[in-house]
Symmetry: C2
Subunit: 357 residues, 2 copies
DNA sequence: TTAGTTAGTGCAATCGATTGCGATGGCCAG
DNA sequence: CTGGCCATCGCAATCGATTGCACTAACTAA
């Protein structure tokens, strides 16, 4: 009988149910050594403390018994849980699943797992969830809900909680972050529209309580100036949330107060989707009457009517880098906090065209 | 100074940094009792074993010290981790985020957390991930990757692992599951098309290795017969995966071999999306030339060109019920396994219309 | 020969909470 | 006055792995 899948065998093996999984002591006994030695033999970092032949014996015994170290016991002793917390607004926002997968990918290969919580943008809830995460002994936090003014995060930082921010940052806090290069993304979008011949471009800005919101709208204003376009403050309207609904509201406001514009760069794809809704209601056709560009390139944008031009952000990489960073800072707590700005790219589809004559 | 947020206070409190969080023994000492008593005083189930006054003292001490029980130590002793594993194919599939949120909602209120893993439909990976989940001492598993023939699940069942299946089931295994009512969903779709006047309806079936796939295609055949429509085997083509790509492939196959059909009911929304791709390539217009109905009502289907008619499944509820079920079976291991069939509804949009004259 | 290394291993404490069992003292019935 | 019951509470073992320290040989250097 083969021994390479012991944990499966024991299931079908009638004579030795061995309900309890093998413990380190069982292995030690089987190998004829003390648990201490077994522990060291199994631990790569301590392996050189024990005789090579002994190591072999122990490893073989471990394999035969299908030994799996109990991570809970280990955690208790070492006070490392091999777990990190991931705090996002809402998993249901298509922006996040790819990020989560990126994070889990690198966590997985390091033997870590993520505990995911959704705050629904409720600070109360966020506080409670983070509290519960901490009580579960997470070793660090990846946070996607950062606000420009975020007392909770400041507090956590003071308490030496390891944190990396993702997708959003906090400007005056020295806290590592991984974000897309929003400014050049917006720059690309405006330039593209300008090249098409647009001169009055509107911006449906995201909430100015988030770095993403302010960076993008600042970049928009700069791009407008750099491209010599019309700088009318009325062309900028802010959304309170990164949502389709708020996007629609902003678009309606723009239309209702009669601000002329032949193109709009939306704070993100959801906001752009809101524009689509308004267009449908009011018989405006895109891109003939007005061009739209989104931000993020969330899935299925190419199936829209019309397929949405947007700026693509490497979500998977964003997540992966954030996880790598957190892991690093867990390994070397003293390391100076790095931050990353990942490159973005304009993805041309059919929602942008030359302005109406 | 208020005492209701001790863990925050201690951060800013210069004189007593108390780096280490308070332990049960600290609380006991502060209350002038033994740790045993403190433990019982804090545990609702054991509280009646200790004097009411003592309970008060202990609780006060706990509060003052900002005591948070260490779940790891607790887990070690009780071998309960308050954690369950969630096994899905790919979080990036829009079907899953709402399910996950439903699950986490009920888990959260029970003090449980979920560890999410993505198998990418790779059995090897699935096995390894479940192994790792188990080594993390999860108390149960919610599995969305069930195949009709799934030896691993059978094994787990024999090893008394608590499992509830979600979205898919295994017919001959007595394992609790929560699924949408696929059969009546398909029935609704076919009936709707029949009422519109279609007589040759195609079915782009999902993989017949999954219960969802076979149930839906079986229901399709029955519905066709019940509505007195044409029963041409050529009208049914199977997709190897629940993907846009495979959906497109199936649609192309149907077209290429010249099978006439004025409507197609897709195994799910992704497959329907694949049809859209082919339509775009071949200048077929939907719904004028051919009607399409999907399944699941994943997000943003209403923004498609044309908005997709589909059958809506209560994803959030699906997740919530599955979690409830798992929790129940953890609490009362002997309870007879229940299963749930949640009601679905046809969601009419613009991808279905009367057949061309 | 003797002191001093060094490699290899074991002892026992420890992480923080839980729990079976036993001890204590008060109180009541007989 | 004595035995017994009950309400309270503490002792100590336990969960499974890790690790500082000590111990034993065997070996080296002087």
């Amino acid at each position: 009988m083969s021994l390479d899948r012991p944990s499966e065998l024991q299931a079908g093996d009638a004579r030795a149910p061995r309900q309890q999984p093998a413990t380190l002591r069982d292995v030690a006994e089987a190998a004829g050594v003390h648990a201490t030695t077994a522990s060291r033999a199994l631990n790569p970092k301590a392996q050189q403390l024990v005789n090579a032949e002994t190591v072999r014996r122990v490893r073989r015994a471990a394999e035969e018994l299908g030994y799996q170290p109990n991570p809970i016991a280990r955690s208790l002793k070492t006070s490392k849980s091999s777990t990190v917390g991931l705090v996002i607004p809402d998993l249901t926002n298509p922006l996040f699943p790819p990020i989560v997968r990126g994070i889990e990918n690198v966590l997985e290969s390091a033997g870590y797992s993520a505990l995911i919580v959704n705050t629904d943008n409720d600070p109360q809830r966020e506080r409670a969830l983070i509290e519960s995460l901490r009580s579960r002994q997470v070793e660090g936090l990846i946070i996607a809900t950062a606000l420009l003014d975020h007392p909770l995060l400041q507090q956590l930082q003071q308490q030496d909680v390891k944190i990396v921010l993702i997708n959003r940052r906090i400007e005056n806090l020295r806290m590592p972050f991984v974000v897309g290069d929003d400014a050049t993304g917006i720059g690309l979008a405006v330039k593209h529209l300008a090249a098409l011949g647009h001169t009055r471009i509107a911006h449906l800005a995201g909430p100015q309580t988030t770095s993403t919101g302010v960076v993008r709208s600042r970049a928009f204003r700069h791009a407008v100036r750099d491209n010599g376009l019309e700088e009318d403050p009325a062309l900028i309207v802010e959304c309170a949330h990164w949502s389709e609904e708020d996007g629609a509201g902003a678009m309606r406001e723009l239309l209702d107060r009669g601000t002329r514009a032949t193109a709009v760069v939306a704070g993100n794809d959801l906001i752009a989707l809101g524009c689509y809704d308004v267009f449908a209601d009011r018989d405006i056709s895109c891109p003939e009457d007005v061009s739209v560009v989104g931000f993020n390139d969330m899935p299925f944008l190419d199936k829209l009517r019309p397929p949405l031009t947007t700026v693509g952000v490497p979500h998977h990489e964003l997540g992966a880098e954030a996880a790598r960073m957190l892991l690093d800072s867990i390994d070397e707590p003293e390391r100076y906090p790095r931050s990353l700005l990942l490159p973005v790219s304009l993805i041309l589809r059919d929602s942008t065209a030359a302005p109406p004559a």
